[in-house]
């Protein structure tokens, strides 16, 4: 865990059309899926994150707001922000409905572009497997540490 700060470097593409705050939010959600961040883990303050990337404090604040909105993190005035979601967490019904809507669009894009059902399933399986593998190794590192 002591090395997490250096091993878990998030990357943001400043030339992407996706806004920086959105990228920061997305990379954080992926970090939770990969087990790099675990429920209860302390997050850096908004200022610390901004210093680490060299970006505006307001941008990080917006990303944290978005993460809070979706329940991925909790912020307490005293103890700061902590990770509030992780694998095994009871699934929120409202979230599942909204997520299904977004997934429908993403899958429709694939079908409309000509990807076959088996290609799509392989892609989805590969991504989920990648998350699981990453969680497995992150867990074992944590045990050793």
């Amino acid at each position: 865990m002591a090395q997490m700060g250096w091993e878990m470097q998030l990357e943001i593409d400043p030339r992407s059309a996706v806004p920086i705050y959105q990228q920061l939010r997305d990379r954080t959600v992926e970090a939770i899926a990969r087990g790099w961040l675990v429920p209860g883990q302390q997050l850096a303050s908004v200022r610390q994150v901004a210093v680490s990337f060299g970006i505006n404090v307001a941008t990080v604040s917006k990303a944290y707001d978005a993460l809070r909105q979706d329940g991925f993190i909790h912020t307490n005035r005293k103890s700061g922000s902590i990770v509030a979601r992780g694998p095994g967490h009871p699934v929120d019904r409202a979230f599942q409905a909204a997520w299904t809507d977004r997934l429908t669009t993403v899958l429709a894009e694939a079908v409309a572009q000509g990807m076959s059902a088996s290609e799509i399933k392989r892609a989805v399986g590969g991504i989920i497997e990648g998350f699981d593998r990453s969680r497995g190794s992150a867990g074992s590192t944590r045990m050793k540490g």
Partner: protein, 380 residues
């Protein structure tokens, strides 16, 4: 005789020149002469040519400065100390600004950054506490040196001269006196005490300085680079502090005991020489550590850590003349230097901007007030 002024400023000039010539070797590969370039372009001929031209420029600057020093010493020894240092800084600065332009021009013309992916990298978990400790031995040594000198001053206070010499001219001759008092006797030692506090504060700041991932470096390599830089800078700060407190003690003893006052120029030259030694040691250890940092990652680290990393975005527009960092969007107070060892301040930070103005005013005010004191004393 002005030999002292000439020797002292020549040492200064050679020291600055040697540091500047060594500088490209200890600067990260992705910022040659403070220009940000993609890692795959770091060895381009235009980069090598610019660095070679910069080094030749530094040699020319040193030769010109030493020649001017010799000329000035014949006229006025005071000018022979102040002018060469300034001249050397201005000339090497000019060499830097002029030679780095060619890299920037080719980079823009060929669109070096258009053809590589760039990423901003950072972390959202709290930064780990620095493991580098402040080397307390040097601080303890400094305290002991000052304490011994204070003890000597207290024990022999009755025999100390009145008025007390407080100012020397550029040739090492006493030219200012003040009536004997706690202030005139122990003033330099009080400055030494202040230095201990100042250096300790700087050390704590260096320990807290944020470590950002360097462009094109794997995270593990970046971590080691930051740790090594911190360790070496903390050691050099401690060594310089001991030298400063030793200087203050020697100056006090020279002022107290007129029989040894002739040793003043020798003490100053020795101080400059030892300072040069500490700085040369820092540069040499830094270069050697730089090779160690690049060693393959130890067994057990993930393969991903060894893979080449995307470059950091081109941030030349935030580096004025490649030296001054001005980025209003970046909340960091300290950022790693572009050209050199250690950290520099972000002048785009409101607090830093105010601090820089206050500091400049203080220095100018001291420059006006202090010589005035010396000459007042000399009139007595």
């Amino acid at each position: 005789m002005n030999w002292f002024a000439v020797v002292a400023s020549t040492i200064f000039v050679v020291l600055i020149g040697a540091l500047m010539i060594a500088m490209p070797a200890i600067t990260p590969k992705t910022t040659p002469l403070g220009v940000s370039v993609p890692l795959q372009r770091a060895e381009e001929p235009v980069v090598r040519r610019a660095v070679a031209r910069f080094r030749r420029g530094v040699v020319v600057a040193a030769v010109v400065t030493v020649a001017v020093t010799a000329g000035l010493a014949a006229i006025d020894p005071v000018w022979a100390i102040v002018v060469p240092t300034l001249l050397m800084v201005v000339l090497t600065g000019a060499a830097y600004v002029l030679t780095r332009r060619s890299i920037q021009r080719v980079k823009a013309d060929e669109g070096w950054f258009d053809e590589v992916p760039v990423r901003l990298t950072g972390s959202i978990v709290p930064p780990e506490q620095s493991t580098a400790g402040v080397p307390l031995g040097w601080y303890l040594g400094s305290v002991v040196v000052l304490a011994i000198t204070v003890a000597v001053g207290v024990a022999r206070y009755a025999e100390l001269p009145d008025p007390m010499p407080i100012h020397w001219d550029a040739a090492g001759q006493v030219d200012g006196f003040a009536p004997k008092s706690v202030w005139s006797v122990f003033g330099p030692l009080m400055i030494g005490g202040g230095m201990i506090v100042l250096f300790y504060a700087m050390s704590l700041l260096a320990r807290r300085s944020p470590s950002r991932r360097m462009s094109g470096m794997a995270p593990e390599e970046s971590r080691r680079h930051a740790a090594v830089t911190q360790h070496l800078l903390l050691a050099a700060l401690g060594q310089l502090l001991l030298l400063v407190t030793l200087l203050m003690s020697v100056l006090s003893l020279l002022a107290w005991f007129p029989s040894v006052q002739a040793a003043m120029p020798l003490a100053m030259v020795l101080f400059l020489f030892l300072t040069a030694l500490v700085l040369a040691g820092l540069v040499m250890r830094y270069v050697r550590a730089g090779h160690r940092v690049k060693e393959p990652a130890p067994a057990g680290t993930t393969a991903a850590a060894a893979q080449p990393r995307p470059d950091a975005p081109d941030d030349d527009r935030y580096w004025k003349a490649g030296l001054f960092y001005v980025n209003r969007n970046d909340p960091a107070v300290l950022v790693p230097k572009r050209f050199g060892i250690g950290w520099t301040v972000n002048l785009g930070h409101p607090g830093v901007a105010v601090g820089a103005i206050v500091f400049t005013v203080l220095i100018v005010a001291l420059g006006i007030v202090l010589p005035g004191f010396g000459h007042l004393g000399a009139g007595r």
